[in-house]
């Protein structure tokens, strides 16, 4: 999806004079043609993530629409106070676009992983939209849409993708209907969830936009058992499910990345297994919950 981001944003730079891109050395090569055409609107600050966000805040204060990009741990974790103060507290927005997610960079180790990014965004002003596209075609649409307003947006782009794109899944989109539970899959968790629940009598609903969370949509489809499957920290959206169903008796199983640092390298698929997010683990955990 990094290529999708580069292509989409490069086209926006050509078409929309408000678009700006702020980089901290990551993905600079991909933006080389854009830099040549728009040297004043593609800014590479070097390996300076605090400045990257400060510059984004300043650009937004002058009326531009900055797209700010790096690996999630550098963009969100490292520059968290700049996001809080240089964007939120100033009352301006930006489009933060990360790659790497929870453990796309599994072989790089913990320093390059950010399972807590969406939870950190959740501590901010509440006006943030969070996109976790499950397919490059979704990412392209979401990134283009973000150019049309000034509100804060976080787009979490993963190297992992589902087979099919559902660009209209900004709210919960039901892909399979069943009676025993409702399984909510976010972004790239959809295909593992579809594989894990094959033959189970459950509803599967998908979204690429967990913030704002589609509370009304969930109320409309949820029975008394809900399973949440997210590609970042387990339970990140649990409070929103609880709020959506606060007056309805229900049980909730929240699945996602565990908090314990595994201290192992390996592949993303290995980490899926270690966090119980591969189809076999998901089937076991969801099946037990549904039948329990």
């Amino acid at each position: 999806m990094r290529e999708t981001f580069i292509d989409t944003t490069t086209a926006l730079l050509d078409d929309d004079p408000r678009t700006a891109v702020v980089l901290a050395d990551i993905s600079v090569d991909g933006f080389a043609p854009a830099v040549r055409r728009h040297p004043d609107r593609v800014v590479n600050v070097g390996i300076r993530e605090q400045l990257m966000l400060g510059v984004a805040g300043g650009l937004a204060l002058t009326g531009l629409r900055p797209y700010v990009h790096s690996y999630a741990p550098f963009l969100i974790d490292r520059a968290y106070e700049q996001i809080k103060l240089d964007l939120d507290h100033q009352g301006v927005g930006a489009v933060l676009v990360s790659i790497g997610g929870s453990y796309d960079a599994s072989a790089e180790g913990r320093t390059h992983q950010s399972p807590g990014d969406v939870a950190l965004i959740d501590t901010l002003n509440g006006g943030w939209t969070v996109h976790v596209p499950g397919h490059p075609d979704e990412a392209a649409v979401l990134l283009r849409t973000a150019a049309r307003h000034d509100d804060p947006v976080y787009a979490r782009l993963s190297g992992r993708a589902n087979a099919d794109a559902y660009p209209d899944a900004g709210t919960l989109r039901v892909l399979r209907r069943g009676a025993r539970a409702t399984v909510v899959a976010v972004g790239p968790m959809l295909d593992p969830v579809l594989a894990a629940t094959r033959g189970l009598d459950v509803t599967v609903a998908y979204t690429h936009t967990p913030r704002p969370f589609d509370a009304a949509g969930l109320r409309a489809i949820a029975g008394d058992r809900v399973v949440l499957v997210e590609p970042y920290l387990a339970g990140t959206s649990a409070r929103l499910v609880a709020a959506a169903l606060s007056d309805v008796p229900h049980r909730l199983l929240s699945l996602g990345v565990g908090r314990a640092e595994v201290r192992r390298y390996g592949s993303p698929a290995d980490h899926d297994r270690w966090h119980g997010l591969d189809p076999a683990s998901l089937r076991s955990r969801i099946g037990g919950f549904v039948n329990g």
Binding site: V22, D40, V45, G54, V55, G58, L64, Q82, D86, G91
Partner: protein, 231 residues
């Protein structure tokens, strides 16, 4: 330290007393007073009737601590009514101990946590340039102790390397940095290609001279020395 060309208007001092009551002014508030007055009285192209004019100069108070002098100057220049000064940090007040741009006309950035203004200033300068607005100049005021924050040095290095000439930093040096700045603060900027001026932060003509001696192709820093905070 000469006070020869320091004339603080009675109106400004009345605003300051109105803000601080009978309490002694915090040193941080007073350390910036003369520089702020010179900026708003002689340098900045800003109009309180049009605080959102896109072609205005931008003044970013990064050192948001002790903003009494800032509020007094803004009120004196007509950015907001003087009676706002009477309830500093009260429950209904727009004026707090750290300024909020969303609450106070003329305040360009919300500040308080140190080390944010220079980065926002770099972005502001870049954003104006990208939109072809060559008239506005961007000024950022920091304190010498605030420079301890590493985020400043990201901005100093970048602005110097790219020759961001529409940016001027003003460092109020009351020697309050815990470990000091060996070799001087100006040298810290000069090594990254900034032009520098060192002025008496109480001498209005000297402050104005330092602000006006910038070059057309490099960012500029004015180090304004005032009496030490701890002496």
């Amino acid at each position: 330290m000469t006070l020869a060309t320091t004339t603080r208007p009675a109106e400004l001092m009345a605003a300051l007393y109105r803000l601080t009551g009978d309490e002694k002014h915090a040193p941080a508030a007073l350390s910036t007073l003369d520089v702020l007055w010179v900026l708003y009285d002689r340098i900045l192209r800003v109009d309180p009737a049009r605080p959102d004019d896109p072609d205005r100069d931008r003044f970013l108070l990064s050192k948001g601590h002790g903003p009494a002098a800032y509020y007094a100057v803004l009120a004196t220049k007509g950015f907001f009514p003087a009676d706002w000064l009477d309830d500093l940090a009260g429950p209904g007040s727009r004026l707090g101990h750290h300024p909020d741009r969303n609450l106070v006309p003329g305040v360009e950035i919300s500040a308080g946590s140190l080390g944010h203004g220079l980065g926002l200033g770099v972005g502001t300068a870049l954003g104006l340039r990208a939109q072809g607005r060559t008239a506005p100049h961007v000024y950022v005021l920091v304190g010498d102790a605030e420079l301890d924050e590493g985020s400043n040095h990201e901005a100093i290095a970048y602005a110097g390397a790219t020759g961001l000439a529409s940016l001027t930093a003003i460092v109020i040096d009351n020697r309050s940095a815990t470990h000091g700045w060996p070799g001087g603060i100006a040298a810290r900027f000069a090594v990254n290609g900034w032009t520098t001026a060192e002025v008496d932060g109480r001498d209005h003509d000297d402050i104005a001279r330092g602000l006006l001696t910038r070059s057309p192709d490099r960012p500029h820093v004015v180090v304004a020395r005032v009496e030490p905070k701890f002496s």
